[in-house]
Symmetry: C2
Subunit: 208 residues, 2 copies
């Protein structure tokens, strides 16, 4: 089970992109990090765009897999887990949303796919809110449900970027639970009485 050079390139570039940003990491730097020559890197990936595209594709796969599990959401703790998993995936590929403006400008094709991804996330979030509503956990009109879904996607998409704006944070250490907690707070006013126990447990955990 040899780790191929190609795999090592993807692994190293993901780490560097996440740490320093897509724009700041040149193909030369990735090669230097691995101790190989720039020419060798370009043998495995003819262009930087190809490298980024493979990473982006993996991100899409992971998100799709998560969206597939939506129909099993019936209670608050299911929702909590789903959010948690989503934040972990986004954190794993955080360079994508963090440098989205640059990515979309540099690689228009990926920009379009990112928009499609957002549309998909929006549908998934709407389905999720609908599930909670059907289970009686959540009380929301259809308009409110639409807004809540939008807020959820907005938060999952942009929260990591926002964290870096805050003093004292450098974005390297992120608690997906904290992010999920803030998202949960959005819908908490609409949670029916019997599900509040779990909410209170989470509150005490993250407000302490």
């Amino acid at each position: 089970m040899a780790t191929t050079t190609r795999d090592r390139i993807l692994q190293a570039s993901l780490a560097l992109f996440n740490a320093d940003g897509l724009a700041a990491v040149s193909t030369h730097k990735v090669a230097a990090e691995l101790g190989i020559s720039p020419g060798n890197l370009h043998y495995h990936f003819k262009t930087k765009e190809q490298m980024v595209t493979v990473l982006f594709w993996r991100f899409e796969q992971k998100l799709e897999a998560l969206a597939g599990g939506v129909e099993r959401i019936a209670a608050v703790d299911d929702f909590w887990l789903a959010l948690h998993l989503q934040f972990e995936t986004i954190a794993e590929y955080r360079f994508i949303y963090r440098d989205m403006a640059f990515l979309a400008r540099e690689y228009p094709e990926l920009g379009r796919r990112a928009q499609a991804l957002t549309a998909g996330n929006l549908l998934a979030a709407q389905a999720l809110v609908a599930q909670l509503s059907a289970s009686g956990v959540l009380q929301a009109s259809s308009e409110l449900a639409r807004i809540l879904a939008l807020q959820i996607v907005f938060t999952t998409t942009c929260w990591l970027s926002f964290e870096r704006f805050m003093p004292g944070r450098d974005g390297r250490d992120t608690d997906p639970g904290l992010a999920a907690f803030y998202t949960l707070t959005l819908i908490s006013p609409y949670i029916s009485g019997e599900s509040r126990a779990y909410l209170d447990y989470l509150k005490s955990k993250y407000l302490g």
Copy 2:
């Protein structure tokens, strides 16, 4: 009252930065847009960083001026107006938050000032929520107030970036009112009964 070349440079660069992103606009492009030579531009601003710094400073000034008016917030429509003004200011200098990752990496000094700005915005938002609470418009514990303030700042800071991720949007035409409406929705569950009339009016306006 002659418009100096220096002023024209600042004006043109702001427009280009907002339209295409800080990273995508070179000093050459700004010069070309104005029909002057790159050398001339560098006579007025020795470095690109100086140009950006002046624009950033103006942004800081505008935000500070807005934060100074917080103490007059006593009702929902005051809050609405304050949000509206803030979104307009952020939209006017939207290149700053939209390309923040790049800006902070390229100009660390401005990155630090942006963090300080966020900290200031957070304090202003907390004061604002406290005002609404004191006026009896809003019912929230101190913990909840902290979370609401965070959500408000998060939304004002990142909403414009998020809009660009959405299919069909290119970020050129933005309705500050819509953004303010979404922010207002965040706190609507905690608004006391007598202030709901204004909320309902806004709802009908933006959900139509």
